[in-house]
Subunit: 139 residues, 2 copies
Amino acid sequence: MDQSVPEASREAASSEPCDVAATLYVCVTCLAGEDRETAPRAGRRLHDALADAQRRQDEPPRFRIVEAECLSNCNRGCSVALTGPGRWSYVYGDLNETSVDDLLAGASRYAATTDGLVPWRERPAIFRKGVIARIPPSI
Amino acid sequence: MDQSVPEASREAASSEPCDVAATLYVCVTCLAGEDRETAPRAGRRLHDALADAQRRQDEPPRFRIVEAECLSNCNRGCSVALTGPGRWSYVYGDLNETSVDDLLAGASRYAATTDGLVPWRERPAIFRKGVIARIPPSI
């Protein structure tokens, strides 16, 4: 739950700024059921694994990876959110470090759209099974 | 689930266009556990009750109410999403027609912020208990 989060948005850019239109937010505070004292937390481990894997890719990134503190999906963490101007935004849960390759592929597919709507059959299984909610583009 | 939704965003403005910065999307396709043949659907009834109640208010609306088709929160519908430029976006579930007054009050509080972050104690109970997920503002 996000009641302990300060009123100001505290997410910080995690990957280098680049000319990309989509953002993958990763909840770095998520415990995913682990003990509160676990360090680094499950969400942090997922974020760092994603950032490392993106840096190892040959092609330029199509989306930025950004830390977020609590996406209010604590019962089904780890959690990420995909968003971008003019696009539907999606929150996905039930993620862990084994999800990294599929997450990068799915986020790239999302970033390649103009509206955020990737055809159902082209979404990775972690997106089809782990969708928590979606929000229409701002109008 | 949203796999049956056409690729184009099909939401339509439901309340009159107005100079407001926040939007309350209401999933009008939600069945909320009712029979698929029920008409109007639970989400449609919630949307129409919200729009009617907003029209009856004396003060000018601080947010627009807009129809959406599936917010991918089918297990905990009815669902709404609150969003606006520069703001955290929120998805809420477990809603029905008895939620109308609290929804309007909570959305007005949200619209009065610049970042979407309403202090926890000032959020209506339906928001504290029914939060499904949230997404940071676009960067």
